[in-house]
Amino acid sequence: MKALKRTVLYDSHVKSGASLVDFGGWEMPLNYKSGMVEEHIYTRSKAGIFDVSHMGRFVVSGGEAAKFLQYVLTNNVFSLDIKQAQYTMIPNGNGGALDDAYLYRFCEDEYLLVVNASNTEKDWAHLNKKIEEFDARITNKSEELAMISVQGPDSKNVLSKLAGSDYLTEPVKNALGILDFNGKEVLIAKTGYTGEPLGFELFVEASGAAYIWERLLECGAMPIGLGARDTLRLEAGLPLYGHELGLDINGSEIPIFSCPLAKFAVSFAEAKGDYIGRESLVKQYEGFKKIMERDFSGLSVLPKIIRPITLIGRGVSRAGCKVYKGGREVGYITSATMVPYLKTEGTGLESRITGDKALRAIGLALVDGDVVPKDNVEVEIRGNKVKAVIPPYHLKSDAPPFARPIIYGDEAGHKLESPTDYKTKALNLLEKSYDNTLWRQHETINLIPSEQSHSSAVRLLSVMDPSFRYAEHKKTKSFYDYDVFYYQGTGFINEVEHLLMEEMKKYFNCAEAETRIISGQMANTAVFSAMMDFKNRVNRKKEASRLGYVLNNHIIRGGHLSAQPMGALHDYIAIDPVTEKAAVVNFPVEKDNIFKIDVEETKKVLEKYKPELIIFGKSMVLHKEPVREIRKFVDEQKINTVIMYDMAHVLGLTGDYFQDPFAEGAEIVTGSTHKTFFGTQRGIIAGNYNKDDYKYRLWETIETRVFPGSVSNHHLGTMLGLLMASYEMNNFKDEYQKNVIQNARYFAKSLKNAGLDVAGDPSVSYTETHQVIIRVGYGTGPEIANRLENNNIIVNYQATPEEEGFTASGAIRLGVSEMTRFGFGYNELEQTAGYMADVILRNKSVKEEVKELRRNFTELKYCFTEDDIKKSLEKLMSTF
């Protein structure tokens, strides 16, 4: 009998008490002493390590390396950036897969392909044959390079400890990094086969693998065998070659698109050219799209598809069990078993993972294309038909750091208590609103940076008569650009609008202001829409081409969601046909200060991409944006672009104490009028185009994209309030802006002295804006923000640039503008810092002290408080 192969970690497995089995010719651990159930649970709650050195590792290099890989793999190699990985398949000519695989690009000219252990020899033979037609080389590095997977919510902490560095890779899936572990180079990938949102695979030189494995164990990771590796990937809905891919139970080829992950692994980009199996895959894809749209007419093209399946009745289904729907046999189970999970209690962000284990019989099945999620089916187990159902998925990973099992039948419910008669409902609402107003206006310390309180004058004006009227108007060329109003009774509001435009132009020191827009994000949408319209103005007969490339701040780095493809940019951003991704490129940030744009690196990006739109602005903001430097550069390089600054948070700081965007070279400024600006909740678009400038047409397009493009009614009440707020702003801004920034800096220093981890550059006292950011520990942001709220201190939890998403937030974000307006000075901020440290570091209760502090600071400053103003306000109130 041929001896089984062993990886370089064999001795470690024996030492850990592994039960060893034959897996594809390798002697591998099936499980260790803890057993499969414990190993599965430990990976989902802490960190598990897996020896995956038995898998095949090939390196492809040479002049035509990419061209070769485009031919033998299904995914688009041109969309693979350096330090990025992608899921892919090795297609055969018949529309099936020889193997599924992962392609890693650690450096510019080399690609690392990782394949399944059971297919290594077959893949190696196939790739060596195909590479003969290309100027490229393939090397088998499976022996030289060992591979260890580290998965689970603690995996990041464990690896950071080992690497002596908090930074491993960018916090996005498929990102790669190169680390130094005690002088040894280790390649690290944010990839995995468990469905864990935090997980990494390491490539290390074989001779150093055992050392790293032992160190990982010392840092608290548990060794996990192939048994739990299978239950983890099954729960995550990931395919296993030989079950969901390859040959089916009857020996026929499973089409690649029967596996729903195919849409991530297969590309039909033109730039990819012809490749093995492309023709068949294109046909399959049509069948796949039809199934997804519940159109079952094309089932002959793609007759079957892999679906998750859950038993409802008692039993354990296994691979091979037949599946029935309505008495008819529709397929069979490809993989299934009993899988453990930990129960949760509570709902939403407050849900807590308990220590209680439970089991569920789940699996994957290859079934007819018309078997869809929510279908009731039956599984034949040992002669008996057991009730089952097709759930949409078994596990979700969109709330890091935990992968969350989704138990079929469990649903989040909202129970709202409500009396039946409307008068009581109305009365309750009034009472609750009164209580809420008192709470927030008198009892809490409000530190949410995007919020402000409004003066009584602003508040009252917002609900006076025009707040239920219409005043649509449009400039008409026939009347020399005078506005034509479509409604009557609009004399007053017409005057208000013109006054508001003048105040805004004065505030920004610019040529134009559009005030009808009712939110910051809507302002951005209108600008993007106008830019797209302006771009296509010469030819209206074909479909409009979208914007691209656009340079913005990535949301992870604090960019506002407006400027992301998922936000306002969604319907206006083009897809780059070569990379098949959105034509967006992000501002690079300084290595030593991730909150600051790296100007020199940005220049390189500008030269490479020549973006047609540059969007400055962030919602997590500690520094000025380098508008002046970038304007200078694009002018020197004659790059045809539009520089826009979404001031959002910092709109109220425009001026000598922060930045003057138009003076620095921005052409368009958008913003919310309710963050550092004195309210009401609206948007603003300001521009500096001369009437003689050819781009003045762009400004006019912005105006029409606002009305009639974005609004019909433009909320006249808040517009009236905004005029008062702009009077307050223009009158009091020098004092206000100076105090806000001084207060922010003092607050930051006080928090630091109180023992908190304040982010930012100490040499500028941590901030140049109204914001202060405190790191509180990975994943604890939401809990800390809750704790502070229970103590009447209201802050935001925030994901810093190193975190994967808001549920993993490790920071809180503070702003001093509202409390500055209530009169807080250095003393009060220092006290607040002390209370915050008490709550965050010592879990003390300080609610009464906070209420006491706030009690003496309930009068809003920077507004008109003279007697005649007060009398006028009383008159307004009498109209109610």
């Binding site: 414990e38 048994g227 354990v316 009993m338 089991l359 040992r382």
Partner: protein, 125 residues
Amino acid sequence: MNTIEGLKYSNDHEWVKVDGKMAYIGITDYAQHSLGDIVFVDLPGIGSKLNKGEILGVVESVKAASDVYMPADGTVVKINETIIDDPALLNKDAFENWMIYVELNDPEELKQLMSTAEYIEFCSK
């Protein structure tokens, strides 16, 4: 591998604890160890009449399903619900956690089963 004196053992790794005409039946420590983490148990209905060699139930692990066989003819009088709710109990203590309690048709049939010493030798082969 644990065994307990005074029990009878079958070739399929079941144990029997006789008490006159009644008997407790379960699976041995050897069986639970080979199976690994037990995740599912199926037991017969109360009142079932089962013959020697018939399948009385199933014990399943993550990786495999294992039938459990009647060591002698009998009628099921009680079943152990606790192992249905928590199959892992069989891993914790296979002898403490019996599966079924039966009334034997003919306790003499049990003479064909192994003694503790014979079972230990059987397992060591």
